[in-house]
Amino acid sequence: MKCVILAAGEGKRMHPLTYTRPKVMLPIAGKPILEWNLLNARAAGLKEFVFIVSYKSEMVREYFGDGKLWNVKINYVNQGKPLGTAHAIGTVKPFVNDFIVLCGDTIFGINDIKQIAKKGTKIGLVKIDNATEYGIVELKGKHVMKIHEKMDHPVSNVINAGMYHFNKQIFDYIRKTEKSSRGEYEITDSINMLVNKEPMEGVFLKEWRDVVYPWHLLDANEELLKKMKTKIQGTMEKNVVINGTIFVGKGTVIRSGTYIDGPVVIGNDCKIGPNCYIRPYTTIGNHCHVGNACEVKNSIVMDHSNVPHLNYVGDSVIGQNCNLGAGTTVANLRLDKKNVPVVLNGKKIDTKRKKLGAIIGDNVQTGINATINIGSMIGNDVYIGPGGFVKREVTPHTIIL
C-alpha cells in the first residue's frame, strides 16, 4: 500500500519562512515536517511513498531524493497549478491502488497512521477546543455523514485531521467534484459524495499538532524535544557543561566553556562555543556556528546559519544561510510584559505569547550591533546594516542601513 503525502502548498501564513520553501520543509527538532511524517509512516509499515509537490518542489526533491537514505521508495508528482486538494490527489491515479493520504504540513503519530492504514475507507479525526477555523465532521456512530465547511458556530468540535484511506473509487468522485466557493477542487467535497455511496469510518487520532503561524513551530519544537533521548555523536572538549537531554550530530565540535541546558538538538558539522550558553527547546541545524559570548534560548536555527559572536537570540526562528553580525541582538520581551503582536502579510496579529523574538527568512545578513525588535518578521535576502534597527514586517530584499 502506498502513502501519498500532500507537499505542494506554500503556506502563506508561514511567511517569511515560506517565501523560500514549501510549508512541509519547515524543520522541527532538526527534521522537516515531511521527514517526521515519512519516518512515522515507515515505522507504521509503509515503504512506498508518493509526494505531491509543486511550490518550490526542488527543496523537497533535493532533500529526499528517491528515498534511498531512509530505505523507502519515493515517487514525485508535480501538481502544477494549485487547484485544490481533490485536484492534487487526482494526479496520483496512475500510481496507486489502495492508499493513504497525509496532509504533509501536520505531523501524524505512528499508531494513528497504523490505524488509518488498516483495511477500509477511513478518515482521521480529532477533537479541538476552538473549531471555528476548521471543517466540522458530522458522524453517525463510527461513520462519516458529512464534512461541513468552516462555520462561525460549529455544530461539534470534531474536525477533519487531514489523513485519509482511499481506494481507487475516490478518483471517480474526484472527477465529478466541482469547484467550491473558494474556487478550488476540495477533497472534502469528493468525500461528501463518497459517503453517500459507501461507508467511511472516522478514526480519532491520539496525536495531532497543526502549525499555522511561524511561532507555532516553537511550540511544536518544544513538544518534540521533550520526548528526546540523549545521543552524542560529535566531539566535546573539556569543561563543557550539559544538563538535561541533548542530541549532538556527527562532526560537530563543542568547545570549552559551552553551557547547555537541554533538551537541545544540535545538527551535524556545527561549531559550538567556546563560551556560549544554549538553553532549552533550542534546535540548531547542520553546519551552524554558535560562537563566543552568545546565548540562544527556545529558538530554531536552520542549516548554514551563524550566531557567531556576542549575540542574543531568544524565542526566534532563523532561516538558512543567515549571518548575524557581532553584537546583533534580538529582543523577545515587552517592557510592559503584554502579549507580543506581529505584523504578518501586512496585518497585525496578537501571537498570544508573552515572549517572541524574531522570525527571520533565509539569506539574511546583519551588520555589527544590529538590533531586532520583538515580533519582527524579516523576509529572505534582507540586509541590515551596522547598527540597523528592525521592527515589524520587512519584505524580502529590503535594505535597512
Binding site: 509537490v53 518542489s57 526542488e58 526533491r61 515517487n75 514525485y76 508528482v77 508535480n78 502544477g80 497549478k81 496512475p94 500510481f95
Partner: protein, 604 residues
C-alpha cells in the same frame, strides 16, 4: 519557424501536448499536429488554429507523443505539409523546426530507394532518412541519418516499436529538456512545459538526448554520454490575461506607462543624481570605446536607429546602426568597438549570429533584451534587461519604447563617464525621464482623437510617414506597425528624402503622416509639409500641444504632450501605435496574430 514538443510520462499525452502547443503557438500557427503512441502510432494534423486539431483527437490513453505548430517555410499551408511527418510504414513520426538545405537531393535519393513522399516539405525527408537506417534503435538511426543532413534542425522523434521513449537532437534551432517527476519533456521553448516543471537542461548544438519517463541520457556528436546540469527557472507561470482588453497588443500599449517605469526603477536616482547599471555593463561602458555598433532586426533595429541619434548627440563616439542579418557581410570592427545587440526575446537568430560574429572579431558585446536567461544574455559580455514583462502580441510595442529608454540611459551614462554632462543637466534629464509615463497616459486618454483619424486611413491603399532627426526612425516604425497589423502598404521616409524619388508616388489618395517637433527640425518639416500639400496629399501631423502654427499647415493634427524635448519619441510612438491599432481594428484584422508573422524569429 515552428514550435515542437515531445512528452513521455504518466499523464495523458493528448492533454499535455495540446496544452503545450497552445503556449507555443506564438512561434507559428498556420497548422498544427500531434502523434501519440497508444498501442499504435496515431497521427492527427490540421491547418488553422490548434483548436482545429484538438477537435479531431479522441481521448487516447497513450502517454508518449510529439506535437508541432507550423509556420511555413517550405511548401504551402496544407494538411499534408503539416507535421508530424511519418515513415512509409507509419511507425516512426518526427517533428522538425529548422531548414534542411539539401532536402531536394536527399528526396531524390530516397525516392530511388522506394520511399514515397506525402508532402512538399523539407522536413519529411528526416522521417524517411531515419526509417531507411532504422534497425530497432531510434537514437542509432538518428545518429546515422543526421550525418546526411545539411541545415538547421531541432528534431523530436518517436517509434511505435519503442514506446515510452522520445529522442531529440538539435543543431542551431533551439531545443530544451524539461525535467519532470515521472515524466519528461522536450520543447522549442521553456514556456511550453513551465506549467508542469521548472527544471530544465539546455542542449547544445549537435547533442542528442534519449528520454523516457524516468531517465534522461544525453550524448555528444561522438556518441559519448555526457552529464548535463539541471537548471531552475524562476519564471512566473501566470497566464498572461487580456484583463478586459480586446487584444494583447492594446493591453501592451497600455502597459507602457508601467514598462517605462520599470526600465528606470532601480537604475536612476533623482536625489543622488546617478544612473546605475549592473557591474558588468558599467565595466563595458567605462572601457575605451572608439565606435559603437548597434545590431538588431525589425522594430528593434528602428530603436537602434533612434539610439544612434541619442548616443551621438550626447557623446563623441561614432555610432553605426546595422541590420543584424547584413552585419556579417561588412563592417570594420576591433577590440575597442562596443557592439550593442537589441533583441527582445534574446533568441532572434540573425541578431545572435551578428553577436557571435562581433565576439569572434574581438569586440566588446552588450545585449539589451527582455528575457532573462536567453541565449543572447549567455553569449554577450554584459546585458541590460528591459524588465518590460512578457510581450504576447506579435507586433512589438512596449519593448520598442523600453529599448529607446535604455539606449538613452546608456547615452547619458557614457556622457557622464566622459564628463560631458554636468550634474544640473543630468538632474534635468532624470526629472523629465520620470515624466515620460504620464505623457504616455496623456496620449492614451486621447484615443478618441486617434480613432477619428484612423477612420480616415482605413481605406487608404498606401500611407507614408515622414520625420526628421529622431523622428525619422519613428516614421519607419510607424509605417512598420501599420503594415504589420492592418495590411495597408506603408513606408517611412526621412522628410528630406521625399524629393529624391518618392514624391512620384504621392497623390490625393496617399495620406502622409508627418511627425513634427518644435526643435531644430521644425522649420524644415513645415516646408516639407507644404511641398506635400502642393501635390494634393492629405497630411496628418503628429505635433506637440503647444504648437499652434501647425494647424495652418496640416489637414489634421494629433497632439501629444512633451516636456522640454526629452525623448518626445516616446509619446509620439504611442500615437503611432494606437493609430495602427485602430486602423487594423476598423479593418477587422487579427491584430495579435498577423498573417505570415511570428514572434521571436529564430530562422535566419
Amino acid at each position: 519557424m515552428c514550435g515542437i514538443i515531445g512528452y513521455v510520462g504518466f499523464r495523458e499525452a493528448r492533454t499535455v501536448l495540446l496544452e503545450s502547443l497552445k503556449r507555443l503557438d506564438y512561434r507559428g500557427y498556420d497548422s498544427a499536429g500531434v502523434a501519440i503512441i497508444d498501442k499504435n502510432l496515431k497521427v492527427y494534423k490540421e491547418i488553422g488554429e490548434i483548436a482545429n486539431v484538438e477537435k479531431k483527437i479522441p481521448h487516447l490513453k497513450g502517454s508518449t507523443g510529439v506535437g508541432h505548430t507550423r509556420w511555413a517555410t517550405h511548401g504551402g499551408v496544407t494538411k499534408e505539409n503539416a507535421h508530424p511527418h511519418i515513415s512509409c510504414d507509419k511507425k516512426i513520426a518526427i517533428v522538425h523546426n529548422g531548414i534542411i538545405e539539401n532536402h531536394t537531393k536527399l528526396r531524390e535519393q530516397l525516392k530511388k530507394k522506394g520511399h514515397r513522399f506525402l508532402s512538399q516539405t523539407d522536413s519529411e525527408v528526416i522521417a524517411h532518412l531515419i526509417d531507411d537506417v532504422y534497425k530497432g534503435n531510434l537514437e542509432e538511426a538518428i545518429f546515422a541519418a543526421i550525418k546526411k543532413i545539411k541545415g538547421s534542425y531541432a528534431i523530436v522523434a518517436v517509434s511505435q516499436d519503442e514506446p515510452g521513449k522520445i529522442v531529440g537532437i538539435r543543431k542551431e534551432s533551439p531545443l530544451v529538456i524539461g525535467v519532470g517527476d515521472s515524466e519528461n519533456f522536450l520543447a522549442s521553448d521553456i514556456t511550453a512545459f513551465l506549467k508542469y516543471t521548472n527544471r530544465v537542461m539546455f542542449l547544445n548544438d549537435g547533442e542528442l538526448c534519449v528520454i523516457t519517463a524516468t531517465s534522461i541520457n544525453v550524448f555528444d556528436t561522438n556518441k559519448k554520454q555526457i552529464k548535463k546540469k539541471e537548471e531552475l527557472i524562476n519564471w512566473d507561470v501566470t497566464d498572461a490575461e487580456k484583463s478586459g482588453f480586446p487584444h494583447f497588443m492594446l493591453k501592451e500599449i497600455y502597459d507602457q506607462p508601467d514598462s517605462i517605469h520599470h526600465v528606470l526603477r532601480g537604475r536612476i536616482s533623482e536625489m543622488e543624481e546617478t544612473i546605475t547599471f549592473p557591474e558588468a555593463v558599467e565595466k563595458l561602458l567605462r572601457s575605451e570605446i572608439n565606435s559603437i555598433h548597434i545590431v538588431a532586426c525589425g522594430t528593434s533595429f528602428y530603436a537602434g536607429l533612434v539610439g544612434k541619434y541619442l548616443i551621438e548627440q550626447h557623446t563623441n563616439i561614432p555610432v553605426f546602426a546595422e541590420i543584424a542579418s547584413e552585419y556579417r557581410y561588412f563592417g570594420s570592427r576591433n577590440e575597442s568597438s562596443l557592439v550593442i545587440a537589441i533583441t527582445q526575446s534574446g533568441e532572434t537568430a540573425d541578431t545572435l549570429a551578428a553577436l557571435r560574429e562581433a565576439q569572434s572579431s574581438g569586440c566588446k558585446t552588450l545585449v539589451i533584451t527582455n528575457v532573462i536567461g536567453s541565449t543572447a544574455t549567455r553569449i554577450a559580455d554584459g546585458y541590460i534587461l528591459q524588465q518590460s514583462g512578457p510581450e504576447i502580441g506579435v507586433a512589438a510595442t512596449k519593448t520598442f519604447t523600453s529599448q529607446i529608454v535604455v539606449l538613452f540611459l546608456i547615452a547619458l551614462k557614457i556622457a557622464l563617464l566622459q564628463k560631458k554632462l554636468g550634474s544640473d543637466e543630468l538632474y534635468n534629464y532624470l526629472f523629465h525621464l520620470k515624466a515620460l509615463p504620464r505623457q504616455v497616459r496623456d496620449v492614451l486618454e486621447r484615443s478618441n482623437d486617434i480613432i477619428a483619424i484612423a477612420k480616415q486611413l482605413k481605406d487608404a491603399k498606401s500611407v507614408f510617414f515622414i520625420g526628421r532627426g529622431t523622428n525619422f526612425p519613428l516614421s519607419l516604425e510607424g509605417a512598420l506597425k501599420l503594415k504589420e497589423i492592418s495590411y495597408i502598404h506603408a513606408e517611412g521616409f526621412a522628410a528630406g528624402e521625399l524629393k529624391h524619388g518618392p514624391f512620384a508616388l504621392l497623390t490625393k489618395d496617399t495620406p502622409v503622416v508627418a511627425i513634427v517637433t518644435q526643435d531644430e527640425t521644425y522649420e524644415k518639416i513645415l516646408a516639407n509639409i507644404g511641398e506635400i500639400k502642393a501635390r494634393g496629399s492629405p497630411v496628418i501631423a503628429i505635433a506637440e500641444d503647444k504648437d499652434t502654427e501647425i494647424e495652418n499647415h496640416a489637414d489634421f493634427v494629433l497632439r501629444f504632450q512633451s516636456s522640454s524635448h526629452v525623448l518626445p519619441c516616446i509619446p509620439i510612438t504611442v500615437v503611432l501605435q494606437l493609430l495602427a491599432y485602430h486602423v487594423a481594428y476598423l479593418r477587422k484584422c487579427p491584430i495579435d496574430k498577423p498573417r505570415n508573422l511570428a514572434k521571436s524569429v529564430t530562422v535566419e
